[in-house]
């Protein structure tokens, strides 16, 4: 292998390395924040969640006893929460403030108190 060819290969390897670095950089982007919330008669745990404005988040729900619902009307998202299944809801909070969420599937005496708060901070 002559010198010229070695230089070309080195340059190519560098470029490949740069590409790999870029790929690594992309993969290393902060992943969506995942917040796990459990739902059981008649509470969400945690009942209050704090999110950062403009930072995407995945709320991951697990119903522990009966079918329930998660609804956050201000974010226009909802999900059925089926025991034994994980339900995921993606949010991109854009407005600072406190917003209510609730169970929107009637689940028994105490259902009406089953709610929580999403706080969005700067």
């Amino acid at each position: 292998m002559d010198l010229q060819r070695r230089r070309l290969l080195a340059a190519g390897a560098g470029a490949a390395l740069a590409g790999a670095s870029f790929a690594t950089y992309v993969l290393a982007q902060p992943a969506e924040q995942v917040i796990r919330i459990s739902a059981r008669k008649f509470v969400f745990l945690p009942g209050e969640v704090t999110l950062k404005k403009s930072v995407p988040v995945v709320l991951e729900f697990m119903a522990l006893d009966v079918v329930m619902g998660f609804s956050a009307p201000d974010f226009k998202v909802r999900a059925d929460l089926i025991p034994g299944q994980i339900a995921r809801v993606r949010l991109l909070p854009q407005t600072i403030g406190s917003f209510e969420y609730l169970c929107d599937i009637f689940c028994g005496d105490g259902h009406e108190g089953m709610s929580g708060k999403i706080h969005v901070v700067a």
Binding site: V67, G69, S71, P73, D74, D80, F99, E100, L102, D104, I105, F106, C107, G108, D109, H111, E112, G113, S115
Partner: protein
């Protein structure tokens, strides 16, 4: 959609408020062939028989009988009496649910007027899709005609997810198809058919579909319960009027950090509770609402 300006809608009279419903697209006179006569009905709602919470109602067992006595004591008896849901307070125990429904039925059986109609609320029906309720009161959705007005009872509670459902929406469409576009139509529901305050579950998941079916009809009024207070709202030309409860009042939409019952007022027992008389005038698509307390001061 917007709330009604009370100054334009309310004329306070006598024991309570009389609401003169307007904004009905100028169709205040109807065809002469619709067998219309003046009449009135009484609406009672959200009696929650079986509720136990002395802080919000220390007379939970006495309030419904007092309301029945108050209706029986009206100077004139209504053409019919309508209960718009949550007859009983919910329980996870199916036997207890039936016991409460049976007790409720026994108490309202002492109404002088035998023409009483019922519909369920989510407390009665959501945990068993209306099964127990139907054993005592029959169908959860139906329609009937009375003196030129077509009444439609829409069940938005037997599905615990607060959906009317495709099957019932299809029935509703078929029922409305038989009506003239100028027909006088009154809808009874438990939950609001519009998004009053979804943050407190004061909505119907597919209520917009029902409203779309009702919109072509020029004289439609909706009476509902669920929110334990008076609320008056317009969706286009369609007026929605919610009724007070007969167990405890709830805060105005979003007016409190949580949707929790308002505590019993020792200085003014039964405050915020009551029932209403609704007067229908022949040849007019107007309803005068008069609120009555459970007990006179």
């Amino acid at each position: 959609m917007h709330a009604i300006d009370r100054r334009n809608f309310l004329k306070l009279t006598g024991l309570g408020g009389a609401v003169f419903v307007s904004g009905l697209g100028g169709c205040s006179t109807m065809g002469a062939n619709m067998a219309q006569q003046d009449f009135f009905f009484v609406q009672l709602s959200d009696t929650h028989w079986g509720f136990n919470g002395p802080v919000v109602n220390p007379d939970a067992k006495g309030t419904l009988p007092k309301a029945v006595a108050a209706v029986n004591a009206l100077e004139m008896q209504p053409d019919f009496i309508m209960f718009t849901g949550d007859l009983t307070h919910t329980t996870d125990d199916p036997r207890e649910r039936r016991r409460r429904l049976a007790e409720f039925k026994q108490i309202v059986g002492t109404l002088k007027n035998p023409n009483v109609r019922f519909m369920p609320g989510e407390h009665d029906a959501a945990l068993d899709n209306g099964q127990a309720w139907m054993e005592y009161f029959g169908q959860t959705h139906y329609s009937f005609d009375h003196k030129g007005v077509h009444f439609v009872v829409v069940d938005n509670v037997s599905d615990p997810a607060a959906r009317i459902g495709d099957a019932q929406l299809s029935w509703l469409k078929g029922d409305l198809d038989k009506q003239d576009k100028d027909a006088r139509i009154v809808v009874f529901t438990h939950r609001p058919l519009f998004d009053l305050y979804p943050q407190w579950d004061w909505a119907t998941r597919d209520g917009a579909q029902a409203m779309a079916l009702l919109m072509p009809y020029r004289n439609v009024t909706v009476f509902y319960g669920h929110i334990h207070q008076e609320n008056h709202h317009m969706t286009g030309h369609i007026a929605h009027h919610s009724a007070k409860s007969l167990i405890f009042p709830l805060p105005a939409p979003g007016a409190a950090p949580k949707r929790e019952p308002i505590r019993w007022d020792l200085a003014e027992p039964y405050r915020g509770l009551g029932f209403r008389r609704v007067d229908a005038k022949a040849q007019q698509a107007q309803y005068a609402i008069t609120e009555f307390p459970v007990k006179k001061a």
